[in-house]
Symmetry: C2
Subunit: 349 residues, 2 copies
DNA sequence: CTGTTAGCGCCTTCAG
DNA sequence: CTGAAGGCGCTAACAG
C-alpha cells in the first residue's frame, strides 16, 4: 500500500517546480526536452498516477472524459453487441465509460443516472427502460450534458435519438416477401397511435405499391404489439373471407412470435406454410426461431454511431437542442420461407 | 447550460454555513431536523449535484465508489452474463463501474486499466485477455488496489482469483457419462504442465474409480488445448487397439469442437455415436452445438461473487495478499447423447 | 522556458 | 449544533 505520488513529489525528484511538471503532463511544447525527460523519468521511477479528479476540479471548462451508458437489458445479445460497439468508439477516443444495466427498471435507471452524474459524466447514452418518460431525462438535459437515446425513443424528450429506419425496413421486408413469390401480404400488429406504427405501415403500403400489388383493407390488422396480440391478429387474418394472405410483416418480433403460436394452433408450419417477417424490436431468442426473418439493425454499428453522436456533442460543447432522428442500416437476417406452398389458400378455408 | 451549483450556493440559499450543508450531505445526525430540511429544500430547488470528485480529493482515506471491470470479450454471451451479475452487486452496493472490453488485446487491456486508475477506481475485476502476465498486474497490485481475477487465471499474480471448480466438474462429467451407460470413457486434451489439467484429470480418475470403472492408460490422451489438438486427440484415441472408447471428457470446449471435427471426418455423429463433455472455458458458440454437453458455471452467479469479493476488500481496506482459489457451483447444461449406439466399437475398427 | 500564487468544490478540524 | 480556516492534487494565471 504505497502513498499517493503527487506532482510535488515529481517536482522534487526532477528538481523542477510543480507547474513545470503540470506542463509536461499536458504534453506542452513549452518545456525544454531535457527537463521533460527528467520529469518523465521521475514519473516512471515513482510510479506516478495522474489524478484526473483533481485536474478536473481545477479546470474551468471541466469536462470529464467519462461517458455514461445505461442499457435496459445486457443479457440480451443485441444490447451486449450494442455495448461493445459503444465501448470501441469510447475507448478509441480516450474516454472511459460507466456502464449500468437498468434491467427495465426505471427506478434503477434513475438511480444509476444520478450516481453517474455525481461522479461526473460528460455525456450519456441510454437505451431507456420501458416506461421511461421525458420527465426522467429533464434534469440531466437541463444541466447541459449531451444525452443520446438509442434503440428506443422517449416521447417528448428533447435529445438526440438513434433509432432504426422503420420505413425503409418494412419496405425491404415487403420486397423480400414479393421476391419469394408472395402476392397476398398482410401487416399485423400495432395501433395507429404510435410513430413507429405509422412509419412501418407507410413502408408496407409503399412497398406493396412498388410491387404493383393491390392493398387489401382486411390485410392491415390492428392488435396489441405483443405476443398475445400477434396470435389474435393472425387468427383474425386467417378467418377472413376472400383471398387468403400467404405472408405477413409484423410490427415487431413479439407479434411475430404470437403469429407463430396462432399458426401452429391451426396446424400450419411457420416459414413453410406462411412466411413471417418481424421487426427486430424486442429481440428475444431470435436464434431459436430460424423460421423468422427479421428486419434488424447491426447492433455494433449502431453502438458506434451512438457513441460518435455523444462524443461529437461532448467535444464540441454543443448539445443538439432539437431531437434528431438518425437512421441506421437495416439488414434482413434470414431468408427461410422459400418453400411457401402454393396451395396455402386451401388450408385457410 | 446551467452553472454548477455548489455547497456555497446551498448554504446561502438555506441561510447556513458550508459545513452545515456538508454535514447534511453526509446524513449526519448532528444537524437539527429543521435546518436539515431547509438544506434539502435548497438542494431540490437549485438542482444540486453532489461532486464526488471534489469530496474524494479532500477525504483522507480517499476510496472512490467506483470499481473497474475489464472483460476479454463482451460479445460472448457468457461474459455478458458475467457482467450483468457484477453489475447487480456493484449497483446494489452503491458503487458504479467502469466497464471496458479488452477484446483479447493485452494492449487495450493495459490502456484501459491505466485510464481507470487515473479516474480513480477502488477495485478492479478482470477477466484477463489471453497472454496476460503477472507483470501486467504488478503495478496496480502494488498500489494497494484490490484486484480480482475471474474465469481465467494469471500465473504468479498475487491476487484473489475466482475460477471454476475443476475437480468437481470433471467428476460430475464422468458421473453423467456413466449414467448414460458409458463404460469406456476417455479424457482428451491438455498437458500435465498446467494446474487446470492436473485438477481436471484428478476429477476424471476419481470419477472413474467411484463408478467402479477401470482406468485405461490409452484413454488419457495429451494434446494441445485447442481445436486442432482435439481433432488430433480423438484420432489417436480411435486408432488404438483394444476396447474402444464410447465417450470422452475434454479438457475444454475448444478441444471438444476439435473432437467433433475428428468424429465427423470418421462419419460419426457427435452426441449420437460418441458422447462428448467439454469444460466450458473458451465458451464460443455453445448454443450452436447442441450435441455438446458442457460443464459450466452460472455466469451471473460468478459475476456476483466476483463483485462481492472486490467489494469486501475495498470496504474492509484489506487486500488479500495471497492468492485465493474460490470455487463456484457447476452446472451440466445439456444432456444429449442419451442415444449412444451400443455397437460403436465396430465403427472404430 | 520556469517558478510563484491562488484557487476549483468539498470535507475536516477546532473553536464558538 | 454552527462558523472559520486550511488543504486534497492539480492547473491557471502571472511574474521572473
Amino acid at each position: 500500500m504505497q502513498e499517493r505520488v503527487t506532482v510535488i513529489d515529481l517536482a522534487r525528484r526532477a528538481g523542477v517546480s510543480k507547474s513545470t511538471v503540470s506542463l509536461v503532463l499536458q504534453g506542452s511544447e513549452l518545456v525544454h526536452a531535457t527537463t521533460r525527460e527528467k520529469v518523465q523519468a521521475a514519473i516512471r521511477e515513482l510510479g506516478y498516477i495522474y489524478n484526473r479528479g483533481a485536474a478536473n476540479l481545477r479546470q474551468h471548462k471541466s469536462k470529464t472524459k467519462i461517458v455514461g451508458i445505461v442499457v435496459n437489458d445486457l443479457t440480451n445479445g443485441f444490447f451486449a453487441e450494442l455495448t461493445v460497439g459503444m465501448d470501441a468508439t469510447v475507448q478509441a477516443s480516450g474516454f472511459v465509460q460507466f456502464l449500468a444495466n437498468s434491467g427495465e427498471s426505471v427506478d434503477r435507471q434513475r438511480e444509476v443516472i444520478a450516481s453517474m452524474r455525481e461522479h461526473g459524466i460528460a455525456g450519456l447514452i441510454i437505451s431507456p427502460a420501458r416506461g421511461t418518460e421525458a420527465a426522467d431525462l429533464k434534469s440531466i438535459v437541463a444541466s447541459g450534458i449531451p444525452v443520446v437515446l438509442v434503440v428506443r425513443d422517449v416521447v417528448g424528450a428533447k435529445v438526440s435519438t438513434l433509432l432504426s429506419e422503420n420505413y425503409e425496413g418494412t419496405r425491404a421486408a415487403v420486397r423480400h416477401l414479393v421476391d419469394l413469390g408472395h402476392r397476398q401480404i398482410a401487416f399485423l400488429g400495432g395501433f395507429s397511435d404510435t410513430h413507429v406504427f405509422t412509419e412501418r405501415v407507410q413502408g408496407y403500403v409503399d412497398g406493396l405499391a412498388e410491387a404493383g400489388l393491390e392493398r387489401r383493407e382486411g390485410f392491415l390488422v390492428n392488435a396489441a404489439p405483443s405476443r398475445a396480440g400477434g396470435a389474435e391478429a393472425i387468427e383474425r387474418l386467417l378467418s377472413q373471407r376472400g383471398p387468403a394472405a400467404t405472408a405477413a410483416v409484423c410490427l415487431n418480433d413479439a407479434v411475430a412470435f404470437g403469429v407463430f403460436d396462432g399458426l401452429r394452433r391451426r396446424r400450419l408450419e411457420p416459414g413453410v406454410d406462411f412466411s413471417v417477417v418481424g421487426f427486430d424490436d424486442v429481440i428475444e431468442a431470435r436464434t431459436a426461431v430460424p423460421a423468422l426473418t427479421t428486419v434488424s439493425v447491426d447492433p455494433q454499428a449502431m453502438g458506434q454511431r451512438a457513441a460518435q453522436l455523444v462524443l461529437k456533442q461532448v467535444l464540441s460543447g454543443r448539445v443538439e437542442a432539437e431531437a434528431i432522428r438518425t437512421s441506421v442500416r437495416l439488414v434482413v437476417r434470414q431468408s427461410t420461407a422459400a418453400l411457401v406452398r402454393p396451395d396455402i389458400s386451401e388450408v385457410t378455408a
